[in-house]
Assembly symmetry: C2
Homo-oligomer: 357 residues x 2
């Protein structure tokens, strides 16, 4: 059986960190005889530079044909002046939408070796392990109508539409309930049902689904309170589920609680667990090309890919164990460096993970 | 000259904390001969119970006639089952909208006496003093069309509209630039201009205004990054300005950074600095009627009211100094209590502030 993985290095630090992740993928591919073939394509700013568009046809068709996709990161100041339809981000949003990757899993885990990196007091975050399930192909990111129009009085107004149908809510709800069932059995659905009708429907459907999952304890929280509770006592959460926009905000907040977003992978899945995998952090143009970036989030994204899309849990565990080992050895890239630890480059970190494998 | 203040105790702990704030207001009214008259009315759940609606006509007309409004808090589980148009929150939203209170000022200040209360490490929050300026009468909270409709395929969809006109953006922008000018001279505008057209217009207008305020340094930040940066390094901010929904989320997050949302007041202002003043915290139904709640946020809301709407800065300073004094004395309500400090009730805290005045 052969499996195809499409690799999209993207922009900024993307190519550097993906290079290390590819070495790791090649190594487990060999060792566990996974039969994985890889191919490469352009997306985001690098695609704009080469082809004039953030998501070239060739990239999209390769992505559709692949069994899984590994993405670095997209965007950078170089393309910030472009109008919205032509920006690097549209490459990412286009992939999510065209591939129907509606379920975004964003774990926020505190590595015990990095406990000091958090802004929060140690007792509030030690052992933190929460999962945010974010809807990724609907909501206000994709809602129509949208745009900027002229009013009768001559001034302009900007408008976007926050919209969810029952079936969109149901499928992301199921993914979240399933995840909660495999974990601590608690699901917190985040909405603004005291103000927004679209989230009244969201809450109703989540309540409906709860009947199918008697083993999962469902609770609801308003989004403003959720942002407070993440800062106050993040360990109260097991799995959180929310829409695209709230999920964007809350998952970044949750990731930052760990103090090491250079460590956190994410998965974006379709109905059949085909997925795109990427680090939670961005393209960090300020340190691009300097061999400084932390490749571990991308390497851990490979592990997630093996587990969710390529049915290779054993290989995933081997990678995760290797990452734990290099942390135990005291190796740290600049973003997670601390006194008494050994500072290493992007490549040296890759070397160390390979050696630990 | 006589000035009218309308008092809206609201629900939950509202009546208890407002009672202490009223004593403080009466005291400075006397001492500084402010000529303030007070009147009372119902809003929220208590209005629903008495009159069947969250914002009775009588309350609205008193509010329109008043020079300033002091509000406790609204809402509670008792009214959670009601449909959205009849919920307590609609009383609050109706007041904001009918009185044109478009500018919501939400300071997040860390009181040195309460430095330990924060979830964050002391060095990250000591001296924290940031101001969030939130647009309060527009955006997705009030945008049309909105609702839940049936689709052709028989399923339902919920929808809301996120909309801002140039003039709405300009007036909140001016309020924020003015505030930054009076403070540290730095303004960070928060949007999602890489995805949402409405915030592309927002960013454009903020840039336009920057030309009128050469003494204020304007920067822009995406909302997901802003949520991260608030957790990572909140002291980087002076003033932040954003729309209604993002402001709801970020201001609660920022308030929680101080660890003492029982201490934080807020102001909601119209074009002429007429305003409604309220604590940032909610109605806390779980501790209502138990003489446990912290009245200081409401007492500090009185100080804000005196300063912004009633031109009585001296009286405001006297109140703020008195609050500082009771904290120095080691008095703490349950929410901010710590070892070695004296636990006091709502009323005892009011007594202490009056004594310090
Ligand atoms: C780059 C941007 C369009 C994207 C988003 O908002 O979804 C990013 O912030 C993310 O969370 O993956
Ligand atoms: C009660 C609710 C409608 C309100 C809001 O969302 O504006 C509250 O959260 C606030 O921030 O004042």
């Amino acid at each position: 059986m052969s499996r195809n993985v499409l690799i999209l290095p993207g922009d900024g630090i993307g190519p550097e960190i993906v290079a290390q992740a590819e070495r790791v993928l090649a190594s487990v591919n060999d060792r566990f005889q996974l039969g994985i073939d890889t191919d490469h394509a352009l997306v985001g700013g690098s695609a704009i530079d080469a082809d004039g568009v953030p998501l070239p046809e060739a990239t999209l068709s390769k992505a559709k044909a692949a069994d899984a996709i590994l993405l670095g990161a997209v965007g950078g100041p170089k393309w910030d002046g472009l109008e919205m339809a032509k920006r690097p981000e549209k490459g990412l949003l286009g992939l999510r939408s065209e591939l129907n990757l509606f379920g975004n899993l964003r774990p926020a885990i505190l590595y015990p070796q990095l406990a000091d990196a958090s802004s929060l007091k140690p007792e509030l975050v030690s052992g933190l392990d929460l999962l945010i399930v974010r809807e990724l192909t609907g909501g206000i990111y994709f809602g129509q109508p949208r745009g900027i129009r002229e009013l009768e009085n001559g001034e302009r107004e900007g408008f976007n539409t926050y919209v969810y149908s029952e079936s969109e809510i149901r499928r992301i709800g199921r993914m979240a309930f399933d995840a909660a069932r495999r974990r601590g059995g608690r699901l917190c659905s985040v909405d603004k049902a005291n103000v927004l009708e679209v989230t009244v429907l969201w809450r109703e459907i989540m309540n409906e689904l709860a009947a199918e999952y008697p083993d999962v304890e469902l609770s609801h929280m308003y989004v403003d309170n959720a942002a407070m509770q993440l800062v106050r006592a993040p360990k109260q959460f097991d799995v959180m589920v929310t829409g695209n926009m709230f999920g964007d905000i809350l998952s970044d907040c949750a990731a930052m609680l760990t103090g090491s977003i250079g460590m956190l992978p994410s998965a974006s899945l379709d109905e059949n667990n085909k997925g795109m995998y990427e680090p939670i952090h961005g393209s960090a143009p300020d340190i691009a090309g300097q061999n400084l970036a932390n490749p571990l989030a991308t390497i851990l994204s490979v592990a997630m890919m093996l587990r969710y899309s390529l049915d290779a849990a054993e290989a995933a565990e081997a990678i995760e164990a290797a990452v734990g080992q290099v942390l135990d050895q005291g190796l740290r890239t600049a973003d997670i460096h601390a006194d008494g630890k050994q500072k290493v480059t992007t490549e040296e970190m890759g070397d160390a993970v390979l050696a630990a494998l």
